[in-house]
């Protein structure tokens, strides 16, 4: 029995636009950290890095075409790392 792929095709123009957005976000991150170090740089890192990763997941890795199970896998992985970091920071913070 075969279960063929049901994926559609992402337009080449969309893929190039996503790549341009990724490069622009990288340039923005570098500029903010270079010219506004400290809190603005930290905020830019916390916002731009997950945004870039989300663009790759959503468009290049076709996450938006996948079912809920695969989205849950990804969410579980991200949540695990966030919980690890959070618990570790709590541990150091309360010592």
């Amino acid at each position: 029995m075969s279960t063929p792929a049901t994926h559609g095709t992402e337009g080449a123009g969309t893929l190039v636009a996503v790549w341009a957005a990724l490069v622009a976000l990288t340039a923005t991150l570098v500029a903010v950290i270079r010219y506004a170090p400290g809190n603005p740089g930290i905020v830019a890192t916390m916002v731009i890095t997950p945004t870039k990763a989300a663009l790759v997941f959503w468009f290049f890795m076709h996450l938006r075409e996948e079912g809920r199970a695969i989205r849950y896998f990804l969410f579980a992985g991200l949540l695990t790392v966030i919980v690890f970091v959070g618990l570790m920071m709590l541990d150091y913070g309360l010592r």
Binding site: A5, L15, T80
Partner: protein
């Protein structure tokens, strides 16, 4: 042809579960690097100033340049999968070759970067590194471990893409059954995502 003969004649194929298995594997890869990122967060919270000083030793221009190289390689992989899905199976291997070329560029830049660190003595086992404060030693330890593990993934990804390109060229992967090429692409994109996280942690840490 009877029903049983039809089942025997058609190869078993389950694209949905194939992709699900690949995503599960990618999850384990993400958690592998996640452990290193947790270690980075822990040591940075303790050695904030040393991490800042050590980060200034890295060449941010090379790090950003390699980011653009990897982002572009992700685009070429995505365009290759797009070409395959659109029925242009002769074009798809060319995009894989472009990606492999970009992988070599990435590794060459990485080799230059590491060799400069070696010449400056900032390399595991060198006295100059051992003489640095504990926080800076930890930064460079994490830097070499994380970027070294990532470079191994780049090499593995290039090999996987080369195999996929060969299978497409030989007609073993077709526009009707592209899941192996799609999964190879997924692996490469994850390598790209991991580098997206590495860039601000190490190269922009100063």
């Amino acid at each position: 042809m009877t029903g049983a003969a039809a089942v025997a004649a058609s190869p078993h194929r389950d694209d949905v579960r194939s992709r699900m298995g690949m995503w599960l594997f990618l999850l384990t890869e993400f958690l592998l690097f996640g452990g290193l990122f947790v270690a980075y967060a822990a040591y940075r919270s303790i050695h904030r100033v040393e991490f800042h000083h050590a980060g200034a030793e890295l060449n941010a221009l090379l790090g950003v340049g390699n980011t653009v190289v990897l982002l572009t390689s992700s685009l070429t992989v995505a365009l290759g999968v797009h070409a395959l899905r659109s029925g242009r199976d002769r074009e798809a291997p060319l995009w894989s070759c472009a990606t492999i070329l970009l992988a070599f560029v990435f590794l060459a830049v990485k080799a230059v970067e590491w060799s400069v660190k070696y010449e400056h003595g900032l390399f595991p086992g060198k006295p100059a590194l051992a003489a640095l404060p504990a926080g800076e030693r930890l930064f460079f330890g994490l830097y070499f471990a994380t970027t070294g593990l990532h470079a191994l993934h780049v090499i593995a990804g290039a090999v996987v893409l080369a195999v996929a390109a060969s299978l497409i060229a030989r007609g073993r992967i077709t526009p009707d059954a592209p899941v192996i090429a799609e999964n190879a692409g997924l692996y490469w994109h994850l390598v790209d995502v991991i580098w997206i996280v590495i860039l601000p942690l190490f190269y922009l840490a100063a």
